[in-house]
């Protein structure tokens, strides 16, 4: 059996709906026979009547509704049609869900699914990676699964967590990634995974950038360097200990992320290593991000805007020379 990243997300939701009566899915076009813009809920409305509900084009109210339901004991999953549109719901996610536990001592167990990241031709408003923005605010857990297995187990984890979770699923991985089957258990939430071991340089990545980073590591392996590649899995909490331990072995750090460069996950990784592990570094840490412009439409522009294995490899070679 072969299963894609997208199918894993669907299967996780099917399991959640089957196992937990508190779960329902709310979002644009998720219900009926349509099953979502990307088909992540295909067939679920029929299998679970009344629990997979189409919502109006009202991202703010979708999340507000989920918050209210969560306060009454439900475990809502909100599907944003594209991560980009969650900007309309920022107020509910950040100011309502994100502050609620702190203010009232009552957590808000909502999961907001964000189909994230770039694909060819999607342009400025259907390509964004918003994990850095959500991670900046207190009160949220931000997941960025990079594998089929993690897409499955982390979504199940997300719904089980009493606090609000922003689950960033990468659209580029929807069909590109396949696994032989789905695991029963995953790694603990908040723990990064060392995907490839190495002694010369640590690349810290997550989501689709894991695969670009692995590809870069493969290229450079032919040149005699062994690169360690870490998948953060969740960007908040950020597994600083695993990153520091890796840098202690390699002495060099390259942080890679697809979101915009200013103040994002990569900046945070470097800040932590520089402040807590400066003595471990043999060279100045570096990072690769998307460019500081809106995300372009034409594939030629998009493939340059987005960090690629080639760019990551170039940056890694520079670091290895220092």
């Amino acid at each position: 059996m072969s299963i894609t990243y997208l199918e894993a997300i669907r299967e996780a939701q099917a399991k959640l709906l089957r196992d937990d009566k508190r779960v329902f899915i709310y979002g644009q076009d998720v219900g009926g026979s349509f099953g979502g813009a990307f088909k992540a809920t295909k067939g679920l409305a029929k299998e679970f009547p009344g629990r997979v509900l189409n919502a109006p084009i009202s991202e703010d109210a979708m999340v507000g509704t989920a918050i209210g339901a969560a306060l009454e004991g439900m475990r809502p999953i909100v599907e944003m049609q594209f991560a980009d549109f969650s900007s309309i719901a920022l107020n509910q996610i950040l100011n309502n869900a994100g502050t609620h536990y702190w203010r009232t001592n009552i957590p808000v167990p909502i999961t907001v699914r964000l189909p994230s990241g770039g694909t060819k031709g999607s342009g400025p408003f259907h390509s964004q990676s918003m994990e850095s923005l959500y991670a900046h605010y207190p009160g949220l857990i931000v997941m960025t699964p990079a594998t089929v297995e993690d897409a499955y187990t982390m979504l199940i984890d997300a719904v089980a967590i009493d606090d609000p979770v922003v689950y960033c699923e990468h659209k580029y991985l929807y069909y590109h990634l396949k696994a032989d089957g789905l695991p029963n258990d995953g790694m603990p939430v908040g723990r990064a995974r060392i995907v490839r071991t190495g002694r010369d340089l640590t690349i810290v990545s997550y989501s689709a950038m894991l695969h670009e980073s692995l590809s870069a590591a493969e290229q450079i392996a032919k040149e005699g360097f062994e690169i360690e590649v870490i998948d953060l899995r969740t960007v908040k909490p950020l597994d600083t200990a695993t990153v520091l331990a890796s840098v202690a072995r390699t002495g060099r750090l390259l942080a890679v992320g697809e979101s915009f460069p200013w103040g994002g996950v990569t900046a945070e990784v470097i800040a932590r290593v520089a402040t807590e592990g400066f003595h471990l570094l043999d060279a100045a840490p570096a990072r690769v991000n998307a460019k500081d412009t809106p995300i372009p439409y034409h594939p030629n522009l998009w493939s340059t805007h987005r960090p690629s294995a080639k760019l990551i490899a170039t940056k890694a070679r520079q670091l290895l020379r220092e």
Binding site: P56, A70, N95, N96, G139
Partner: protein
């Protein structure tokens, strides 16, 4: 068919039972007494941050809380002390929140009117107007999903808050989900300092009800009898499964946006409008005119209100306030998932 009904100009709403009227009056009196004390403490520098009172809005507000039952959801806003009290919020919790007591519902982490007890159906508002409308809808959907019956939700908004996208999305989704919801919108004629003509351009805010699929009603918010009648009826209709209800009340805010605001922007002309009448004074005059309570009783109620207010502040003032050093600085309940960024929030 959905109707946007308006009371005919000359018709008088049926006065509700005198007992309800007097009960409501006493909540209004308690609120006015409490908020006068709050304002005085603010002027004396004894309250940090802002003080936001509902002077002139007590009749509308009390009618929002007084018909709610256990199991209902109430999402009040900043001028709803009367309604909060009528729905069961202990006055000491209000004093605790303003003074930042650790024993209060917000434990010094949030203040003034940003308070609630969600487990008791009292949602804790955020400052972003309109955000609570959809939250109430979600709570009602969950209750319906669990098979609960005979519950409603009531949330309040002002004419200023009615202009936000969140209110629009929330009201629309309420109707789409057939939520048993009452939205009470009070037009106090100013969004902070901005008058109605710079807030909206429709002829009448209640006309929006039909557009959303609500039933809409208007009332004179200075008249307690009308507030109880119209809002009480809307609550009954929502409980009976009618479409969501919008009630638009007209008043003048008889204080600043907060106590820091001298509301000098309120024109002399508008102060002479019928909607500028003080609802509490009007209710008291009504009680005297109808001889629903004698002067001695009214005086006793005043004294009892003053005593209750003193007790609330006295209790809250004796309680410990939070300490930055002892605080549990965790914004999530899962302590094992707290991001360890380093002491003091910096690495």
């Amino acid at each position: 068919m959905l109707q946007t009904a308006r009371p005919k100009k000359k018709s008088q709403p049926k006065a509700p039972a005198h007992e309800k009227y007097l009960e409501a009056f006493r909540w209004m009196l308690l609120t006015r007494t409490f908020e006068e004390k709050l304002a005085s403490m603010y002027r004396g520098g004894r309250i940090t941050g802002g003080v936001y009172i509902g002077k002139g809005q007590e009749a509308v507000s009390v009618a929002c809380g007084i018909f709610l039952q256990k199991g209902d959801i109430f999402a009040p806003l900043i001028r709803d002390q009367a309604g909060r009290s009528a729905f069961g919020e202990p006055l000491v919790d209000v004093a605790r929140t303003y003074l930042g007591s650790r024993a209060g519902p917000m434990r010094g982490r949030d203040g003034n009117i940003h308070r609630g007890k969600p487990r008791d159906g009292q949602l804790a508002m955020i400052s972003h107007l309109g955000a609570m409308v959809s939250v109430v809808v979600g709570s009602l959907m969950a209750k319906r999903g669990r098979g609960e019956r005979n519950f409603i939700g009531l949330t309040t908004i002002g004419e200023g808050g009615m202009q936000t996208g969140a209110t629009h999305e929330g009201m629309n989704i309420a109707a789409v989900e057939h939520a048993p919801l009452v939205v009470v919108a009070t037009n106090n004629h100013y969004a902070y300092s901005t008058p109605n003509d710079r807030e909206f351009a429709c002829a009448n805010l209640v006309d929006r009800a039909r557009g959303y699929g609500f039933e809409g009603y208007e009332l004179d918010g200075t008249d307690l009898a009308q507030c109880l009648d119209v809002i009480g009826s809307a609550v009954k209709r929502a409980r009976a499964g009618r479409p969501p209800q919008l009630v638009v009340a007209s008043i003048l805010r008889l204080a600043g946006h907060g106590e820091h605001d001298d509301f000098s922007y309120v024109t002399d002309d508008i102060r002479k409008e019928p909607f500028a009448i003080d609802c509490l004074q009007r209710a008291e005059a009504f009680i005297k005119e109808r001889e629903l309570a004698d002067a001695e009783t009214l005086q006793r109620w005043r004294e009892q209100a003053a005593e209750e207010v003193e007790n609330a502040f006295s209790a809250a003032q004796s309680e410990p306030v939070p300490s930055g050093d002892d605080e549990d600085w965790s914004a999530i309940s899962r302590r094992d998932l707290v991001d360890e960024i380093g002491e003091g929030g910096s690495s």
